[in-house]
């Protein structure tokens, strides 16, 4: 559209380079740290020339940290497992609960439907601690305090509104005529929903599920308040790991790398869906 002078193109190039450096450098640097021993990390001045080692990863996977002072067990792998259970579990539950509700909100303007949809959405914006703090006391009373289920239920605060609002938009885009035609042909609403509406809204459901998974994985505050030590996901586990391991910087970096790899990989793999979900339905891909 525009004609750029050579000077301008160089300036734009430099600006882009700075942007890429700023946003990529921390990930790159932590990755490098995770491949170094403490000796090379502590060198001054820092240098990117070193002999890479996988010993930090080996120590975390084996669950043993050996320093010259002592050897201690650390269970970071179970944090990773917890993250998987909590994120997959909450997305699955949110899909089961949210997709039918999204369909109802999209197709039937029943009494109070807008109010309910807005109430559900406003959960996304309320301070999470407001709900979490009373819940800690309740959870102890009703015995949910030490369970995956209790956490997965609370994670619905993040996952459900996302699923509901993104998927609802997709259902609204499907013309009801297709469904009517199928129903007139003598099929029940359930089979219409399953055979017609669900497949047509599949891209939206995928985008919403992907975003919900990432938000659940990255969540920190819910698990910090509610999870007991053996149910903690990586976000909380990594922080505890820092306190426990003290100066094992290489292993801390390796733990961070292990914790962020799943979401980064998933994001890169499914970036098209992601951009669509992230732009809040303000654009259709």
């Amino acid at each position: 559209m525009h004609h750029h002078s050579p000077i301008e193109r160089v300036l734009r190039g430099i600006a882009l380079l700075i942007v890429v450096l700023f946003f990529m450098f921390p990930i790159f640097w932590i990755l490098l740290m995770s491949l170094q021993t403490n000796e090379t990390i502590l060198r001054s001045p820092p240098s990117i020339v070193f002999e890479p080692t996988l010993s930090n990863y080996a120590a975390i996977i084996a669950g043993r940290l050996d320093s010259n002072v002592a050897s201690m067990g650390i269970d970071f792998m179970s944090n990773l497992m917890n993250s998987v259970i909590l994120s997959v579990g909450s997305v699955a539950l949110a899909l089961v609960l949210g997709v039918p509700a999204a369909y109802a909100f999209a197709r039937h303007k029943f009494r109070g439907s807008e109010d309910i949809a807005f109430t559900l959405l406003s959960f996304r914006f309320a301070p999470p601690l407001l709900v979490l703090l009373p819940l800690t006391l309740y959870f102890q009373q009703i015995g949910l305090a030490d369970t995956y289920f209790g956490l997965i239920w609370v994670y619905q605060l993040i996952c459900l509104p996302l699923i509901l609002w993104i998927v609802r938009g997709y259902f609204e885009d499907i013309s009801p005529d297709v469904e009517h035609a199928y129903r007139i042909a003598g099929h029940s609403w359930f089979s219409t929903f399953r055979r017609i509406s669900l497949p047509l809204a599949a891209p939206g459901i995928a985008a919403a599920a992907l975003l919900a998974f990432i938000f659940a994985w990255n969540n920190f505050i819910f698990a910090l308040v509610l999870a007991s030590a053996d149910k903690q996901p990586v976000t909380v586990g990594a922080l505890a790991f820092v306190t426990a391991s003290g100066i094992q910087y290489g292993q801390i970096a390796a733990a961070v790398v292990l914790s962020i790899t799943p979401t980064l990989a998933l994001a890169l793999y499914a970036q098209r869906y992601l951009v669509e979900g992230l732009s809040l339905g303000a654009v259709k891909g």
Partner: protein, 307 residues
């Protein structure tokens, strides 16, 4: 539901079931949410009480005292000030940066698309872990950022542990994580703008800077507003980055609402004050979220209309 009955009753049954049907479909989601509304009202109840976990015998209603006390409580005003400063500083800077980057990447070239996908990575990083990464990078002994600061002449820069740079450090982490969000939304907005006004302006020889101020920015405004409100809502409630970085310290430099409320609850076990703090925050977010939802729906309608 097999329809073997004659046509008329079948149609009636269909109407009845389709009236109940939406309620049935949304019932499970509603039940889960009612389960979440209960603690909300409990929190309101707590906020009207004198309630310390460490002194259960001393518990009782004090109605609005927790809120009235805020008026003369300097640490409350500090919390409000820190939260607002943090929110406006992060969102302001992220808007400027995000808009700048979106403008750089506006053309749909392969390189630009590749870069915009790479820039998603910070956004996909858990904020608490991002804070941890920056903590490693600002370590006084080996942190690469501390080294850079030293090279630039700031020897002994102590980042998050120094009261004068603590806010700057957490704002930096926030910018790193969330600027890509604003960039993506604004990029989507920029690329969806109609081309005719720009073509007309180019024909008339309108300078590019003027095109930006007179055409691009006004047309992009709904996107800017939606992004800003969405981020403000999140930012004023920031917990992860600040808690993982300094737990609100040094001193009370970074005592934003949620960190203060968390420490009130778990360290000083002052449930009443903690709940009241969170309700003040809730009132702010409720106001902002209404504004946001209104803007967002209008934007979504527009996007729908263009397809």
């Amino acid at each position: 539901m097999t329809d073997t009955t004659p046509a008329v009753p079948a149609r009636r049954r269909l109407r009845v079931s389709s009236k109940l049907f939406p309620y049935l479909l949304s019932l499970p989601a509603l039940l889960v949410c009612i389960g979440i509304l209960i603690p909300f009202f409990t929190a309101v109840w707590y906020s009207l009480q004198k309630y310390r976990l460490s002194q259960p015998w001393n518990r009782g209603m004090n109605w609005g005292d927790n809120y009235l006390n805020f008026l003369t409580d300097s640490s409350f005003w500090n919390t409000l000030q820190v939260s607002l400063t943090y929110a406006f500083l992060t969102v302001g800077l992220e808007l400027l940066l995000g808009l700048g980057i979106a403008l750089l990447l506006q053309k749909r070239t392969r390189l630009n698309n590749f870069i915009s996908i790479m820039l998603l990575m910070p956004l996909m990083t858990a904020p608490a872990l991002a804070a941890l990464m920056f903590k490693l990078m600002t370590n006084p002994n080996f942190g690469i950022l501390s080294y850079f600061a030293q090279v630039l002449g700031f020897a002994d820069m102590r980042w998050a542990s120094d009261p004068s740079t603590a806010l700057l450090t957490v704002v930096l982490v926030d910018i790193w994580v969330y600027t890509p969000f604003i960039m993506i939304l604004l990029l989507a907005g920029l690329r969806s703008l109609p081309t005719q006004p720009f073509e007309a302006a180019a024909l008339d020889g309108v300078p590019r800077l003027q095109q930006f101020w007179r055409i691009t920015l006004p047309m992009l405004m709904p996107y800017v507003l939606t992004a800003a409100l969405f981020r403000l809502l999140d930012s004023i409630q920031q917990f992860d980055i600040i808690y993982a970085m300094t737990q609100g310290g040094p001193g009370d430099q970074l005592m934003v609402f949620q960190v203060e409320a968390y420490l009130n609850f778990f360290q000083s076990t002052n449930v009443g004050r903690s709940a009241a703090l969170l309700l003040v925050l809730w009132a702010i977010t409720f106001f902002l979220s209404n504004l946001f939802i209104k803007n967002w729906l209008r934007l979504r309608e527009r996007a729908r209309g263009e397809v």
